[in-house]
Symmetry: C2
Subunit: 354 residues, 2 copies
Amino acid sequence: MEKKIVLLPGDGIGPEVMDAAKRVLDAIAVQWNHSFSFESHDIGGIAVDNHNTPLPDQTINACKQADAVLLGAVGGPKWDQLPSHLRPEKGLLGIRKALDLFANLRPVKGFEKLLHASPLKEEVINGSDLLIVRELTGGLYFGTPSERTDNGNAVVDTLTYTKREIERIVDKAFQSAQLRRKHLTSVDKANVLESSKLWREIVEEKKASYPDVTVEHVLVDAAAMKLITNPSQFDVIVTENMFGDILSDEASVLTGSLGMLPSASLSESGVGLYEPAHGSAPDIAGLGIANPIAMILSTALMLRYSLQLEEEAKMIEAAVISIVDQGYHTADLQVQNGTKVNTLELTDLIVNYI
Amino acid sequence: MEKKIVLLPGDGIGPEVMDAAKRVLDAIAVQWNHSFSFESHDIGGIAVDNHNTPLPDQTINACKQADAVLLGAVGGPKWDQLPSHLRPEKGLLGIRKALDLFANLRPVKGFEKLLHASPLKEEVINGSDLLIVRELTGGLYFGTPSERTDNGNAVVDTLTYTKREIERIVDKAFQSAQLRRKHLTSVDKANVLESSKLWREIVEEKKASYPDVTVEHVLVDAAAMKLITNPSQFDVIVTENMFGDILSDEASVLTGSLGMLPSASLSESGVGLYEPAHGSAPDIAGLGIANPIAMILSTALMLRYSLQLEEEAKMIEAAVISIVDQGYHTADLQVQNGTKVNTLELTDLIVNYI
Ligand SMILES: CC(C)[C@H](C(=O)O)[C@@H](O)C(=O)O
Ligand SMILES: CC(C)[C@H](C(=O)O)[C@@H](O)C(=O)O
């Protein structure tokens, strides 16, 4: 099987964790006799430095022709003062829109060995295993107008959705729930927003097509509470772009190991993009100590969702669990009687397991 | 001192906790020789039942003529299926707008005796004491258009702010910080929203007028994480309406005793409205077991902010702390070696202390 993978290492620790991911994929290719070709392109701050734009056309074109895209991280203090159209995150928003990556999937599940690092009490976090399905190309992020009005004395942003946009993300969430524990929590603010009312109607309509999935509606403010007081009540959570941004970051710290969480951003039929849930961590960039696990687990999601290589995906996940269970960890984590290793060493351990 | 207080008991446990609050105020009046006159009006579900609208004109008018307003809670399953304009929460949104209650202040501070009920580990929640200042009459809640478009195939909500609206809430937050630990965290999504960019500019402009306050900007997704991983880093948090809705509910469960949290909603020069952070709890309504403390502490905020009776406010707060420290609690809480009491008994204890 020959597959074209575009790598967008980006900024900060992005290139380091991307190297780790590539080595893991090389090991998978050898083991299963696949052929993965890799092509690197710039995005974010590095793209601003090299091409004076956070999202060069050649990056977009390469991604469109790829079977899948891996992204490291974007951003850092170096680019923080640039005007808005040159900010690294504009590259991220741009590639989401250009590839129509409407469905952002963020699984949140702790590692037993690391749960002690959770800010939550053990009895609260225990057993949590949830998936946030966030709409990624609509809502306040892309609505127009988004501008100053009244001679600069006022401002407007616009939250828009079409039925079609809501339907496809809701379908994706129902389908994700069918592959898991078959419970879907739809999060909205239907007591205030017209867009949330339409959202809720569509979830209600779609229910009939997924009779094996139980559905509940939770208001976004209540969801923000329940994630903390009882995270294990959730299986799949589906919500619009801005609510999803807030809730998925909130959820990502519950298990105490943000450096271990992957994410997948999927389009309807085209390419998918896979990236760690964490950021570019400029403070430790270049030191070779970054935790590569979120990036490596993102490659597992890529194998599963974009390349339909479930067995290979499972192998990576098993390798990670085994290494973590043996007490190996990078400097971002503390493990009693564990062995602290650097990015390269941890990657070696995973590669050897495979 | 003669003061006119309007009571809006509302639905569910609202009337029970309002009775408790009134008895506490009566005790304060006797002790300090004040005269408080009380007038009750309908809002929410009970107003729909009695007047076919969740916010009758006489309620609005009475509030406008009052020195302060106390609100219990609104809503319940009885009114959940009504069309949107008859929903109890429309009464709440309507009274906020009618009285121009732009500043919602929600202090979050645990009681030592109750911190064991926090979902967070002791070392994480310890020392937390924060105040959320939420803009309450702008943004997505009130922007137009908010409607179906494209023959019902799409939908739009609108997030608008004027400079003036942002300035007054930011001023209120700086002033609140000056009375506390002098640190202000402004929460926005300035990497995506034009409204957040203006928000951030205004905070930066205002800084010079409050040189004793340190200021930081945090993105809303990061704020949702930090509230959990390190809540004690915050003093005052200021943010727009929707972000404030989510973050203040998130923050309200951190200490493990939501039934103890008051809130104040203030206008520029007119009347203020005070209500518990919790809801109408229809499941225990009428049983006489509701926790009245959030409502009673809301009366303390009323004495402080609307009636300038600081000493009396402090007395109520001291009474509550003393009763809680002695182990008295209602059924919503568990206290080792504590004494479980009902609404009436707890109120008696507080009244006797005063
Ligand atoms: C960088 C930012 C624009 C982005 C977002 O808000 O979507 C990030 O927070 C994320 O969640 O991927
Ligand atoms: C009932 C609802 C409209 C309201 C809000 O969202 O403002 C509530 O959640 C609150 O925070 O007071």
